[in-house]
């Protein structure tokens, strides 16, 4: 497995020196994230999320399946994600890299295990028919912080998706085409957002939010926090890297609380804008 | 506030198998425990440490191996005994891989043949290097190396061959460079290899010893021990009669049954002693050999736990 070449020494020294003065190469403040751009496709649940040059496409589709015998009252959600060499030359096909493992596991934790979607509301007939939602994450380009972008794309796609209305009469199940009856949104418990902070070998350097690929490559540890606007943490993930004082961890979490509220406002606004253009088409 | 579930204290067995820990619920007992540590260290004389323990201030002392400096303190980074030479504080790990030093005698195994060099597995953190220029070639010490020698390196040493050599120098990355430029060194045959933790091999005046039972021993400082049939002094060729066939030969001499048994007995004694973490010297091995013969125990029985324990006890008892 060839390792991507590490950044050259001048690049590294320059980045460390400027971060020491709280300056970032793209002009952001240390705790400023790139404004996400959300583009919705013609289909419901099709979202293209871009943060700077990092781009992730997420799409949701649903179908009817028989539920698992252990959980007859719950729908199924599966998340498919793969980092292809298309996103960045650092990745290669075949064996899952460490980055890919982290991404897949984090998506799973943030979007599925934190009970974002009410799975019981996806049940149509107990033990017979439930909705199976398939969330596919395509990483189109990686310019740093792929994880946050993928999580955002995934959660927005789930919020954007609407499933066809279903009528149950005894044993008969009728699925209404979206053109007949307006499809209904998923019942969501909460909307978690993920924030990644990068730490650097020099402990006096402040942590940066939403690292670019160069920053990520030169960092000495990442701290990912997923939380919703209601100040509920869903995932805290700091796997190794530079040791941090407990107070620093708490400080970063409080920063993330503020960011989650901001991001929530942006997402809600964009979803509303999009929906207002769509209402016309449906009838 | 934070407590353990309490349970009975276990018997303190000898080798640290299943060392259970009873933790006091009362924090007052906690303090007693610390005092116990100090007492134990005081009685035994050698000061022990584990990683992360502060040893001293970095103003008054210099840091040696097994320590690092943080926040103006010298801190231990390995578990072992603290050693002090004047102002230099170092920690010697109780157990670790072989740390080579120039002049050490090592026994190794050829791992790879590369252009102009052999890679030798000698139990270190990297394979050692034996340069073609650091070996004696057939035809006399003064002989020049030719290109043809480079092409037939495998005729001297090939993968899997065992050899005894001396550490000559180190490369910048810490890999050791060996040489076999002495008649004492070279390919090994007529015997058997035993591997023990390197800490058990003490530095001796000579690491080539022969036991009166007709067995030669090479105690490599890397913990590799070569036990072989005794070679009579007169059988060894002098400087002039450097015989290529003999030095790089792959053929074993005829070894009679008694010698074979003796070799096997010595190797099993070494294994038994190593399992009990007994340092190995020729004196100890000789004594152990006599004990084994005296007890008239079968060679293979030496590996049994109770026989090995009795052997160790007999050695400890006499001193």
């Amino acid at each position: 497995m060839p390792r991507p070449p590490s950044p050259s020494i001048p690049e590294r020294e320059f980045l460390y020196a400027s971060l020491k003065q709280s300056l970032r190469l793209d002009g952001r403040l240390p705790l400023e994230m790139r404004e996400p751009t959300l583009t919705f496709g013609p289909d419901l649940g099709w979202v293209d999320c871009a943060m700077g040059r990092t781009r992730v496409l997420a799409s949701v589709d649903g179908k009817m399946v028989k539920p698992t015998p252990e959980r007859p009252l719950e729908g199924v959600i599966t998340i498919h994600s793969e980092i292809s060499p298309m996103a960045s030359s650092d990745y290669e096909t075949g064996r899952a890299s460490d980055e890919e493992v982290v991404l897949t596991r984090m998506l799973d934790k943030v979007l599925r295990r934190s009970d974002t979607v009410d799975k019981e509301s996806l049940c149509v007939q107990a033990g017979q028919r439930v909705w199976h939602l398939r969330l596919t994450i395509h990483c189109l380009a990686d310019a740093g912080n792929l994880l946050d972008c993928a999580c955002l794309a995934g959660i927005v796609a789930l919020k954007h998706y609407r499933r066809p209305e279903v009528e149950v009469e005894g044993e008969d199940v009728t699925i209404h085409h979206p053109s007949e009856r307006a499809p209904i949104p998923l019942a969501m418990h909460h909307t978690p957002y993920c924030f990644t902070f990068a730490y650097f070998p020099d402990t006096t350097t402040q942590a940066v939010l939403d690292p670019t690929s160069l920053e990520q490559r030169l960092s000495a540890g990442l701290l990912s926090i997923a939380l919703n606007a209601q100040r509920e943490l869903c995932v805290v993930q700091k796997a190794g890297g530079v040791p941090l004082a407990p107070d620093e961890v708490m400080r970063i979490i409080n920063v993330a609380v503020g960011k989650a509220k901001e991001l929530d406002r942006i997402v809600e606004k964009r979803l509303q804008e999009d929906w207002s253009t769509r209402n016309v088409e449906v009838r | 506030m934070i407590t353990f579930a309490s349970f009975a204290a276990p018997p303190d067995d000898l080798y640290g198998h299943g060392h259970r820990v009873a933790h006091p619920i009362d924090p007052a007992d906690d303090r007693d425990m610390d005092i116990d540590f100090d007492d134990e260290e005081f009685v035994s004389g050698s000061k022990l440490t584990v990683p992360g323990e502060t040893l001293t201030s970095s103003h008054a002392f210099m840091r040696g191996h097994g320590t690092y400096v943080d926040n103006e303190q010298v801190i231990a980074s390995v578990a072992g005994t603290v050693e002090r030479v004047n102002k230099l504080i170092s920690v010697r790990a109780a157990r670790s891989r072989y740390n080579p030093e120039v002049g050490d005698l090592v026994v190794g195994r050829i791992a790879e043949v590369q252009p102009k060099r052999w890679k030798v597995d000698a139990g270190g953190r990297q394979d050692a290097v034996l340069m073609l220029s650091s070996v004696n070639l057939p035809g006399g010490v003064q002989r020049r190396k030719l290109e043809s020698d480079e092409l037939q390196m495998r005729t001297f040493f090939e993968e899997g061959d065992l050899l005894v050599a001396e550490v000559q120098a180190f490369f910048a990355d810490g890999a050791m460079s060996l040489h076999t430029r002495s008649l004492k060194y070279g390919k090994l045959r007529n015997g058997q290899l035993v591997i023990v933790p390197p800490a058990l091999i003490r530095r001796l005046k000579s690491h080539f010893t022969s036991l009166p039972c007709g067995v030669d021993l090479i105690l490599g400082l890397n913990g590799y021990i070569w036990v072989s049939k005794h070679v009579k002094d007169s059988d060894r060729e002098g400087e002039d009669g450097f015989d290529a066939e003999a030095v790089y030969s792959n053929r074993n001499d005829d070894i009679d049954c008694a010698t074979r048994t003796a070799i096997a007995r010595v190797t099993n004694i070494i294994r038994a002693l190593a399992a009990h973490w007994q340092p190995l010297t020729d004196a100890v091995l000789l004594e152990a050999y006599e004990w084994a013969v005296e007890q008239d125990c079968d060679v293979k029985d030496l590996l049994l736990d109770d026989v090995a324990a009795a052997l160790v006890a007999s050695l400890g008892g006499q001193h």
Binding site: P246 | H19, R95
Partner: protein, 266 residues
């Protein structure tokens, strides 16, 4: 079944009879196993993990060697019989890979890898029994195994799990508790009190998180005492065994004669 069991009853006892802040009993065994340079077996209650450390040794994969430091390689193997229902996990299981990646990145800044350029240190984790706190046990066992192998560490790494049941925090959870309540694992370097690893994967309010986070950091210090004790005991045994014999060498002077016999060959 999870919700039927009372996690914490009115008298303040947990399902296995422990108090809120009570840790399960710990056993640590550092005796050598096989050809490993260092090995440790640790149990936290019913969770049992064995770790073997090999190295630093010549790197197997040439392409992966680093010219300025050693490479850490962590492999995790979960025994199929380690859980109630027997299940074989294959090596590619994402959860196992994540566990291995977490352990690896926990130790990368702690092990002084710069001392061993172009080498490789292998850490093999075998999970024999699991009843909660898998990551905790793996990290603690790996620390002890590294100590046993004489590999230089900046500090011991002590990990502990904690959870919150409605508003009451508790420590060292069993599987039963882990399935039911939000929980986190913290790995601390006790000397500085700094945290090298935090993972939490269930919904928890920020304020609650603060409580349990501080508590687990304190609990790690208690674990540290135990680990230190085990490491001292092991080192003491090895050093004592060596000491007994160093006296015997001084007493016997006859080995010198045999040495000279060999020296004459030169």
């Amino acid at each position: 079944m999870g919700s039927r069991v009372e996690i914490l009853n009115d008298d303040g006892y947990r399902s296995d009879g422990r108090r809120q802040f009570e840790l399960r009993d710990i056993t640590m065994d550092l005796s050598p196993r096989g050809t490993a340079d260092g090995s440790a077996m640790i149990t936290h209650g019913l969770t049992q993990v064995m770790v073997s450390v090999f190295g630093p040794r010549e790197a197997k994969m040439r392409a992966q060697t680093l010219h300025d430091r050693a490479v850490l390689n962590v492999e995790v193997n979960i025994a199929p019989f380690s859980t109630g229902e027997r299940r074989k996990r294959n090596r590619g299981d994402k959860r196992i890979l994540e566990l291995a990646a977490s352990i690896k990145s926990t130790f990368e800044p702690v092990v002084q890898t710069a001392l061993y350029p172009r080498s490789q240190i292998d850490i093999y984790v075998h999970v024999l029994q699991q009843d909660g706190g898998l990551l905790q046990a793996s990290i603690n066992a790996a620390t002890l195994a590294l100590v046993g192998a004489g590999i230089p560490l900046l500090d011991l790494v002590c990990a502990v799990t904690g959870g919150v049941h409605s508003t009451s925090p508790m420590l060292d959870l069993t599987t039963l508790e882990e399935n039911d309540i939000p929980h986190l694992t913290v790995a601390v370097m006790p000397k500085t009190g700094n945290v090298t690893l935090v993972t939490m994967e269930t919904r928890l309010h920020v304020d609650r998180f603060g409580d349990i986070f501080k508590l687990t950091c304190d609990a790690a210090q208690v674990i540290h005492q135990e680990m230190k004790r085990a490491a001292y005991a092991r080192t003491r045994r090895l050093v004592d065994a060596m000491d007994v014999d160093s006296k015997s060498i001084l007493l016997t002077g006859d080995n010198v004669d045999k040495d000279t016999a060999m020296n004459e060959l030169e």
